[in-house]
């Protein structure tokens, strides 16, 4: 089974990388590397993950059409993008609006949304917008910390 994951996170965006210093980017990059390592280590035979990463959430219609992912991973907060649009408070709204759009156009496409230390209300909003699953983001750059995510993706693909 091949699982193609379209991974939307603001840490991949040029805007984020231009705004934050190298030390902070190193944390973020190490975190992503650990996820990538966990998904692509070939530990489970017969299941291959492919990750397409993007920091351009506003291009989701084009990217989904082009990449044809089996699953979407979607960060909740898009602070820099919201700031650019003149409303820092809308950092969550950006991803929720994209999620609503994805759900409308692709009713069966699994979308896992995540955030550091989510609260119940945020989770409710995400589920109302159409998330298949909401996870807490663990900012540890240790591959094992992400194995639950891997098995969850496999489960979603089996029940598709």
């Amino acid at each position: 089974m091949k699982i193609k994951v379209l991974f939307f996170d603001d840490i991949f965006s040029d805007m984020f990388r231009k705004t934050h210093d190298g030390e902070q980017l190193a944390f973020d990059d190490a975190w992503f590397d650990s996820i990538e390592r966990e998904l692509t280590n070939g530990q489970i035979k017969g299941i291959d993950f492919e990750i397409v990463k993007s920091g351009e959430i506003e291009l989701w219609p084009y990217l989904i059409e082009r990449a044809e992912p089996d699953l979407v991973l979607l960060d909740l907060y898009w602070y820099e993008q919201a700031k650019q649009q003149g409303g820092e408070c809308r950092a969550i709204d950006i991803s929720l609006e994209a999620l609503k759009g994805i759900r409308k156009r692709y009713p069966d496409l699994p979308v896992i949304q995540y955030s550091v230390k989510p609260d119940r209300e945020t989770m409710d909003q995400s589920y109302e917008a159409g998330a298949t699953f909401f996870l807490e983001k663990v900012p540890l750059a240790v591959p094992e910390a992400h194995s639950a995510l891997k098995y969850l993706m496999i489960y979603l693909m089996r029940s598709k």
Partner: protein
Amino acid sequence: MERHTNENEARTRGDLVAPQNVIPAERFFKKLPELAIVGDEQSVDRIAYELLNLLLDSTGADIGQINLLPRGGRVEKVCIVKDGKPWLGADMGLLLYNPSKGFSGRVTSTGKTLVVEDIWAEVDKKEPNPFLEISGFMDRRYLEEIKKPVASSMFLPIKRNNEIFCTIELSRYRGKAPFNSADQAPLDDFAAQYGSVIINYLLDTKNRIALNTAYYKLNNISRLVASNGKIDYTDAVAAYRTLSAADLGFAFFRRGEGYACHALYLVAWCREEIREICFPEFKPSEDSVLCNSSEISYPVEGNWNCRRLQRFRNRIVTHTGIKTKDQQFLLGIIDKIRSYVVYPLHMLNQDLGAIHLASSRNDFCEYLHMSPFLSLYNALLKSFLLNERVVDLLSQVSLKIHNPGFYCLGGLKTALMQENRELLSNAKIIGALNCLDDLLTELHEKGKILICRTRSIHLQKWLRAWINQKRSHQPSIEISMIVTPAVPQNCHVRANYEHLETLFENLLANSMRAIAERQSHDRKVVGKIDLTLSKNGNELEVRFQDNGHSYSTVSGRGTPQMQAIMQELNGSFIREKQPYCVHLRFPYKIKEDQEVHRED
């Protein structure tokens, strides 16, 4: 509103007309309740028009003008009547005049009625003619149609206590008998007896209308602050434009944090034209009114060649990140300014901006200061801006803890795991890390307390409360709500109060305009607004209808705003044109009794 012209016609024919000793004020007062019924700008025009007609009829004058000059309010020509018809149009840009110039200026300084035999004579009572001194700067059409045909004029001051807050100007066409003391006496009596009452009423009506406008603007801003929406600064400035004597001005709104990295939103206006211009990074000079550390917390007066204004001009000239059209617009305003008063918007060490009220008239500062009501509006706006900044700051704190805060902590744990896994079994180290985690989590949560949240709202109850409130605000309008039997008892919609208020306040404002439009043709019509709440499939529908007439839209922003909100709420907005009504459809959920009781 036809004017009685018998006396004028008699004068034109050259008949002898006996001077009237008393101006029949009761004719005006009898009409007053009917004139004020609509309660919008038309009421002011009608009252002023009726007053001028009465005076024109009683004195055999052909052209009349009412000039308002309240301290801290709009100084303007509020009405001009020529041959019994209103001459002044809102789009004529003639609202400006300088109360210290011309014959009106002479009346303002002496406080006495002035009779002039010929306003075009080179010399008036051995003094240079003050009208000729300023006629070169006057609007050409005004000069051609209002001033050129007349000779004899009378200028009447209207006082409240010792303050002259209005002048009335009456003129006769050249060739007619000039005004004399017999004409003046009944006018002076009328002015002394009724002048201040009538003009105060006129100003009160104007202020009441402006107060309603300001009330809606402030409500809009408070809802925007509460809904995380972007504040419409242009809208917020409307009160300064309509309630002050400033024909030119700037409103500076500073956003963001820290002295160095403030963004500046500048709303500039020149008469009817208004523009919002953003300067992403604007560092004010150290003694600028925009800068809180300058310790200027009082209104600062200035004129066209003062250091502050010229410094601002230079900044606009040298600023590279501004569109040419915007730059020209700003420079055009600055170059027109002759006097100004600038009010800093400072609160709790926060420099939120400044309001710069300006005029193209020289020595005009005393009229530019804010009226008590405008000061109140200004204070409330300042509080809203502070609220907005606090919300921003808290949100930024929360986001900083989110990222990089949690990432740094994660990085520390990762490093410990990679470098010496055993350290993570050490109770002291784990305790310290947990403590740090708890602290960051708590701060992160606290940073989110001022966040806009949607909730389950019992729409029927909310609408009843809203309608009751509006019935007290708009007692002249009948508002009713019918709930069809199919509507389930405990159905709730997912929204926040600001969403609902914005939707229904917009619909109400539209209906009020439509009703006013119909009443302007038929004053006996009672305004009615009917709401019907019904169930439509899986949605709850509110049908909103009034008995008004269609009207030309003012801004056209209301409908897109309502559509955007309904889309955000996963509902729909449907508008029917024949007859005009709006349907709002909300997805709903039935709440269990237990949950409902807990909420109640």
